[in-house]
Symmetry: D3
Subunit: 263 residues, 6 copies
């Protein structure tokens, strides 16, 4: 019988726990390692509607990228969204595991999938912070090359392949050849992208000052959306789990999609 | 229909939230204020066997003195006793409220009940820290008088009325006339008891150094057990809730008792 | 002869220093209060191109909303944008003053101007934190009313009157009647907007989690751009200074505009 | 002529200073290393009556386990017990040295003596934290084996060999075979005892929550008294000093005994 | 019989405890309030040779300005000067009290005595921080007036009346008319002296940067020695104690004088 | 064309950046590494009059020991001396570099020059903290030998060779043979000097307590002035820069001298 522990161990083979940032919260955040698993729902976030979807379907496990709990909790009540998610999970006997910054940094994780989705070639890690057991380096950002093109062409490409409704960006005044990527809120690392020789950086949640910083550094900075830059890993993760555990039904959340719209 | 909010509001009339210590965690710690309530289990602690007893009986609410969560939690799993309690509560749709240091300090709370159980007369608050809306002072410790007796006689009395299997104490060399009480771990406040003119102090969880400190201060110090000094309030609280909400069934936990034994 | 001190005193009549947040840095951040002033450049930010514009025009003073220095500096070099701005200002004898959170909070400041620009009626302060000498309350957010309309209509209105190239938003499922505004990064205060009975909140720099929080709270949340929500105050400020100091030439920066684009 | 330094050096051969916890205070805490020594009083604690006993006997040195000073002092007055001890020592020219957590952790120290006193066989260190110069490991807790017996039998044995007036304990539901020991307040380390495969843990100063923790972990937890679990080392230490310094008179305190009683 | 408590209470009438700085350590720092007193030695510092002088003379009390203990102590040994002082005091049954920043700030204390010794007229407090029970303000620095003179003349005067072997100073370029004084290390307060309209500041322990700061501020800054600027209060204090307690012999230390020399 | 970077690189060959204390601020503190340099002013401090001298002479660079900025700055205004220095430098296009504790610690730096100026023989480093690339140790203090002489003779020698107007000192009661030196405020390290076997320590900015500490330790302690003990390195540094960059004019500040006088 497959258990939560089996799935967690496998996920942490892909995204080893020691690759996480110090401040992060990953692994089994709700439930029991010993619980048997026959249905798994995979999603970017463990939000209420995802927990409800898992309950409606009869899943015993949700696997997400973002953690169910981030700020430590002193009560579990229906007054907060996280409280409602936990109450829903416990009431339905659903367990919750996640791989967050360990999946961001792992070879084959969030940022490798993002780089591949964007069609970059010669993908490499910017500022590796360590190496896994097989000697493969890991780290947060990736970069790779594209055929030289003007920014407008690359923006169209990004929008299409990530399925973005819109993009926000600044034009750093350079043609696009070497592209850094960091799914989610990685704009704070733009100097590393620049130091690696990149002309363009695709990330999300970019703030006013950061757009100006990029402008002054001459870096094309593209905010392609937190959801759109990280969600591609979900399908890859679901597929890998399904392949490894053929006896378990694995499904990608249908209820979860970006809530933010452009006008 | 009676709700968790109704019960919580009533409990916090008895033990107002503003009477709690800064570091404490009280009120609704699990569940929903809007949940309907027909059966309430009252106990000193929200331990697993108490949660199970509530589930077996079909209660929708447990009311305890000690908080379900004290250290903020970053996961809710079966690897810890608190995690198991929360999972059990959520799985059975049981809500949990508590009144801790607010009940210790409130007029008519833990320490007034303890003082009355010990038969003290002229019960007063040591070092009041504030007053409630009606102008009644509140604070942690109480003291009162007994007919002058030697320590051995008083020890026998304490053991009997609190139902202690044993007592630990030091003899401060004084007859017993004026007795301070502090349910649970209050030995750190022994100087306040002394300053109030007490010759004897009944509390619990006394440590080696504290016994010696009392010896040197000439204070009879009696460790009557954490459970035995605080549990008397449970029956009082259950009775008050039952009287106020006659439509609700209120029961004192049968499963919960002190686990510590003397030899 | 008009001096920097005269202008600063006047600006701090409009936006008194005691209205600033504790962590903020406002007032004279570069130069000398005694310096004479004949030309003033007003802009949202003291960026390099603004400093250059001031130098090219021969201004002796720039008045901005954002502070020239925020993180305290241990060197003034051309390796940072702020260092280059300071070097440019000192080399050209240009002084720099600013009013930041004091102008956000002041009656008639950033957020009142934003509310008026959006055409809100019955404009009031959400959660006032104090009152000025005349008894007028001040605080960060404002709210006001619009004729009831669906969100799409209001989005179109916002885009037009603020001159936004695009908007990002979530639909909280409510018609628009009562609108909160907070120029710049104010999404962290969305609960205050909700508590004030607002259905809609216009602010900027909204992050992924914040869009989801608003979704769950049922609040229409609109990111209209940091520049677009704060820049309206610049013209108002320039006009007031010009009216008070007719002997001084006051100009709004032509070089400074939002660098961020939509695709 | 034997000096304080000679005795201290010898004691710190038995309990090397580097074996102490970071927060501890050990060594010469009062007096002069150069002082000559002809009479030594050895005791668990440097309390006032011990200092007085040393003065009455004419000792120049007290050797204790607990430190004379723990919280750093800003005055030496007769308003505190520690102040009175120091004043007594200085007035009588008595020096004071101690070995605290270094003696707890050292091979042959507090916990080895406790384990031997309890008659454990195959005594080993739980979680060694280092090794001494000869390669012998050191660490806080010890464990060893006893002939399998029920808890009641073992409780009787403990009470007898340690000379306890009473014991407090919880029954973890297991027969006694493998026993961990930690003199003084070591209940916080019960998980280490459990991880080492122990069924029973003898320590002191156990608090309410800790008894419950042990109950839930299924560990027999016995509070045999701070004094009773640590005092056995005193005789061993006195004997070793006397053997090494035959020219010095070494005496164990007669005045010092546990002040805590059972009822 | 006069006791230490009597003397301490009198000293703290002159220099009330609530006038001390938060970080300071004053009052009874060694011994017993109940001890009888027939001989008192008064000195600026409680150094070893002062303690020895008190012992040789048979004093039961030393009264000093500087505290016996400043950094809290974890041992009392002959390895430090303070340890030796305490051992000497305790061995000879000498008690030690002090009034430090409370005496600096008190009306009639260190700085009033210094100002009077320098012959200043119209002596006032710079930046009073409170008032005593009689409504008299207190604070650290004093200032007063002298007949206008050049700096050289004033330097000669200071050297003479304070009995300094030498002075260190900078010439701020002003004639001397209004002089601030702060015994001991008060140069950090030079801006307050300047704000009070002073042209000259007499203090001690002045550092390189502080001399330069004064130079740039145009303030004559004179380092007249820590001992020389504070010691005048010793005679005044001794006299007041002697007048109030005629039954007690009061003596000023003969052994203590400045150790620092000029070349 | 010689640039600021060229000079900085050379200076940091003499005083490598990794030799600085953690808290220090060294290197390029104002201006641009790319700026061309034809005239360099070298001085101990970057005070206003030094900046003015550089401007008057037409220098593009000042090289100092003390840093231009130490406390991080939140404004650059004429209200502070440092603000005025920075404004002056930027207005005149002058760059500023410094080597502070790296020059104190470097072989051949401040303290080696001081030791050589005093004519010490067998100069060595006290408590080396590391070694440079060539294996030469570095550290703060130096010591060396002189022909045995009484303190008065040595004081006269120090006064002459350092050009001091006066000295402050205490007589530790020893003849002078082994002398420790630490330019600037190094008295806090007197125990290291003593441990190295020195009888005499030459440093500056000595405080009251430190003189007494030295007295009790039996160490001759000489305060020879901050300026006088550090300034000798200026000429050596200027000479080395001039020798390495013959195309650049290097000048030692004429305007800068000690402002402190003796009376």
């Amino acid at each position: 019988m497959t258990t939560v522990a089996d799935i967690l161990n496998f996920v942490e083979t892909l995204a080893p726990r020691q690759m996480k940032m110090d401040w992060d919260n990953v692994g089994l955040l709700c439930g029991s390692k010993a619980a048997p698993v026959s249905k798994i729902l995979v999603a970017l976030d463990p939000f209420e509607h995802v927990c409800q979807e898992a309950a409606d379907w009869g899943a015993e496990l949700i696997v997400t990228h973002h953690p169910l709990i981030f700020q430590a909790m002193k009560s579990i009540t229906d007054e907060t969204s996280i409280g409602r998610s936990i109450m829903r999970l416990c009431a339905s006997g659903i367990n919750a595991i996640n791989a967050h910054t360990n999946l961001d940094q792992a070879p084959g994780g969030v940022n490798d999938v993002l780089a591949r989705t964007l069609g970059l070639s010669n993908i490499q890690i910017i500022s590796p912070v360590g190496a896994n057991e097989e000697g493969l380096p890991y780290g947060l950002l990736r970069y790779g090359e594209v055929n030289e093109q003007d920014l407008a062409a690359f923006l169209g490409h990004v929008k299409t392949v990530l399925g973005c409704e819109g993009l926000r960006y600044i034009d750093g005044g350079k043609a696009v050849r070497k592209v850094a990527v960091g799914g989610g809120s990685c704009a704070g690392a733009m100097l590393e992208a620049l130091d690696a020789g990149c002309d363009t950086f695709v990330t999300a949640d970019v703030k006013y000052n950061q757009f100006w910083d990029a402008k002054e550094l001459g870096l094309n900075l593209i905010d392609a959306g937190h959801f759109q830059t990280e969600n591609p890993v979900v399908a890859v993760l679901a597929e890998k789990i399904a392949a490894r555990f053929p006896e378990v039904e694995v499904r990608i959340s249908k209820a979860h999609n970006d809530c933010m719209r452009f006008f």
